[in-house]
């Protein structure tokens, strides 16, 4: 590992040093070039010639110019072995497993979370009964923002947009009867700080059920970009402290829960906040590079850490770009691990990912159209070789999905898996002149964007300076302008406008009214019955660990064991690290 050089410099040097054996011989390419010229001069008119390259505009896209068609000329520099290879082998462009979906189907993991833990537990069991193969939990606003349900700041928001969790007791109710020793569980904790708290509660829940940590499978998010940039919040801790907690969590989880993915670099939420697939991928990879560097500095091996990290990508409208991006991300991550970190373990070089269809691309007008949109997104994810998938529901432009809408999303996945036969052949679009050319171009763009971050001094610095906030805002404003001009088309909104009033005749999810009160009652009982002296002691120990720069995770775990609440633990972080004011970026 050479810290003086940027990742791009290291990879560029590697590329120059390697041989390149084109699939085509030079004579053939010369002949092809001549016949292409001839075609251009005879088969198409001058006007058509002028529009040979177009720039497609799509929601959350990058505006990569596209040719009219692609031919061997566009991929003449590709070396099959070096750039494409075989599935399950370097450079992993074609997929991380040799037999991909024949050997292991993508995990069908629909997000669940609303009201209290008892309510979400029913939804989890409903989805598992209908063939879901993984669990995916989203938390309500107060839980995500780390305030207890009885905090005045939580009023009106308990159980909204996710499930309310205040203590280990709630975690026990959430997973009651769910075989967490057999099925993988994704906890969408988003932030490093709430990962340290909510995952600690999850571990204590497993302990109380007598399930050994070694048996647990799943992932947390634990991504500082979501905590410091993607979300809006009344209170933030400073980015360097947030990054430190992210690394603390990784160190603890990797050491103690071997089957658990200790971080999910979350491109998805950043992309949905407003950016392209290139920035989405680049920021996640820049974060991954900085994280591995930090953990190496703490004495851990890059291989060992990377074996248990995963990525989470958004799949939006530009169908072939999304497929090419997944392929490009796999190849680039392999190169980063191999050449920047000198990885030896093949597992450490795998870009394993969960994907979710884009929520931003859903429209309120004629909501049934969203079923079609999400199905295309899902198909792109599978053609791109994703390991795991969530399909957004058509009613999410209005509220959290109803049970029927959730089932339809699961069925969308099952139809792709069981009926379409697209999973029979590995990387079915590999070798397409178009896909290979796009894959190359997107990989180059991602690496350039990673380079921009590294030249600024790394991601933590870039965030502190407001670079990422501004990037999102600028992107969103421009995108908004393109939508208003109908350059970016949204069927039913700015083209083929819905004629009637756009009130749809669909069922909309209705929240239970009593969640906040139920959570308050549980908290009242908990605070009355637990040993508050121990809680105070554990919180004081955590405070000390924050100050002494010890790994905070074991202290959060002890606090959770003592039945401290989420808000109490998070309060220690805010108190110890102070608050950060994000730069003015709008």
């Amino acid at each position: 590992m050479d810290d003086d050089k940027t990742t791009k410099q290291i990879l560029d040097e590697q590329a120059t040093a390697q041989r390149c054996a084109s699939l085509y011989n030079p004579d053939f390419l010369k002949e092809l070039h001549n016949s292409f010229e001839k075609w251009q001069n005879t088969a198409i008119t001058e006007v058509e010639k002028a529009s040979l390259k177009t720039i497609p505009h799509s929601l959350l896209g990058t505006e990569i110019p596209r040719g009219l068609f692609y031919s061997p000329q566009d991929v003449s520099k590709i070396d099959y072995a070096k750039d494409i290879g075989f599935p399950g082998g370097e450079p992993y462009t074609r997929g991380i497993h040799p037999n991909m979906y024949r050997g292991r189907e993508f995990t069908m993991r629909q997000l669940s979370g609303f009201a209290g833990p008892e309510d979400t537990n029913e939804r989890i069991n409903f989805l598992l009964d209908h063939g879901a193969t993984g669990v995916n939990i989203i938390f309500d606003l107060p839980t995500i923002q780390e305030y207890d349900s009885d905090n005045r700041m939580a009023r009106g928001q308990v159980g909204k947009g996710g499930v309310a969790i205040d203590s280990v007791e709630d975690m026990e109710l959430l997973f009651k009867g769910v075989p967490i020793d057999k099925i993988s569980v994704s906890l969408v904790t988003h932030y490093p700080t709430n990962t340290a708290i909510l995952f600690a509660m999850y571990l204590v829940m497993a302990e109380r059920r007598g399930i050994a940590w070694e048996k647990l499978r799943g992932s947390v998010q634990n991504d500082m970009v979501v905590e410091e940039v993607v979300r809006g919040a009344p209170e933030y801790i400073p980015p360097p402290e947030c990054f430190r907690i992210q690394c603390d969590n990784i160190a603890f989880i990797r050491t103690n829960i071997p089957g658990w993915n200790c971080i999910t670099f979350n491109g998805y939420n950043l992309r949905e906040a407003g950016t392209s697939e290139v920035t989405e991928t680049a920021v996640a990879m820049a974060n991954a590079i900085e994280t591995i560097k930090e953990l190496v500095a703490r004495g851990y091996s890059a291989d060992w850490i990377a074996e248990r990290i995963t990525f989470f990508w958004d799949v939006a409208n530009d169908f072939f770009v999304e497929i090419a991006r997944l392929r490009a991300a796999r190849r680039l991550w392999y190169k980063i691990m191999k050449h920047r970190f000198g990885a030896k373990s093949s597992r450490a070089m795998l870009m394993r990912c969960h994907t979710q269809t884009s929520g931003l691309c859903l429209a309120r007008e004629e909501p049934l159209n969203n079923i079609v949109r999400a199905a295309y997104h899902a198909l792109a994810a599978v053609l791109g070789g994703a390991q795991s998938l969530h399909v957004d529901s058509y009613d999410e432009a209005y509220s959290v999905p109803t049970e029927a809408a959730s089932l339809l999303s699961l069925r969308t996945q099952q139809i792709i898996q069981e009926e379409s036969a697209v999973t029979e052949v590995v990387d079915p679009l590999g070798g397409s002149f178009y896909i290979e050319s796009l894959t190359d171009e997107i990989e180059r763009k991602i690496l350039d964007a990673v380079n921009e971050v590294e030249e600024m001094g790394g991601l933590v610095t870039a965030i502190e300076k407001g670079w990422l906030h501004r990037k999102i805002t600028d992107y969103t404003l421009r995108e908004n302008e393109l939508i208003e001009k109908a350059t970016i088309k949204i069927v039913g909104r700015n083209c083929y406008k819905a004629s009637a009033e756009d009130i749809p005749e669909i069922d909309i999810f209705e929240y239970a009214q009593d969640t906040e009160e139920k959570q308050r009652q549980k908290l009242k009982k908990l605070r009355a019955e637990r040993d508050n002296n121990i809680v105070v002691k554990r919180l004081a120990e955590l405070r000390e660990a924050c100050k002494q720069r010890q790994n905070i995770f074991p202290y959060c775990l002890e606090a959770a064991r003592a039945n401290a609440t989420e808000g109490e633990i998070a309060g220690i972080f805010r108190e110890s690290f102070g608050l950060w004011k994000p730069p003015n970026f709008w």
Partner: protein
């Protein structure tokens, strides 16, 4: 679209713990570009929003909510506005993601306008301009 003859001041906030800020910031920038003087305060609760609106002498208060906090915190905002006596001469708008059945409830609570993700800058600007001139007409002569 910008109309420099009409000076308007607007306080924009994301309501309570709302995590999504894209919509609020986009509207803030679009309206600023239309000549509206925008005070963007990020995440805030009703008391603070009304306090800032009064300090700034705002003509309009706009809040954003996407994750279900709109009814309770939205109603609370309007109650505080009423208590402080600014409900009738300040325009209140709310934007975000709402089930259609909640739209009449938000109007009932006192919001002058509700906007979904499909609302563009021009629609919002035209609305607030008209609403401000109507509300100002309602003010008693001194």
């Amino acid at each position: 679209m910008p109309d420099t003859n009409i000076k308007m001041k607007m306080v924009i906030a994301t309501l309570g713990l709302e995590v999504h800020w894209r919509g609020a910031v986009t509207v803030a920038r679009l309206l600023r570009d239309c000549g509206v003087e925008v005070v963007f305060i990020g995440n805030a609760y009703p008391d603070e929003i009304i306090q800032v609106a009064m300090q700034e002498g705002a003509d309009i208060v706009g809040v954003s909510s996407l994750t279900g906090g709109h009814l309770i915190l939205g109603s609370e905002l309007m109650e505080v506005a009423s208590q402080k006596g600014i409900k009738d001469n300040v325009v209140f708008v709310i934007g975000g993601i709402f089930p259609p059945g909640d739209l009449p409830k938000l109007k009932e609570a006192g919001f002058d306008g509700t906007f979904g993700p499909e609302a563009n800058g021009e629609v919002i600007y035209t609305f607030i301009k008209k609403a401000v001139s109507l509300k100002q007409k309602e003010l008693p002569d001194i």
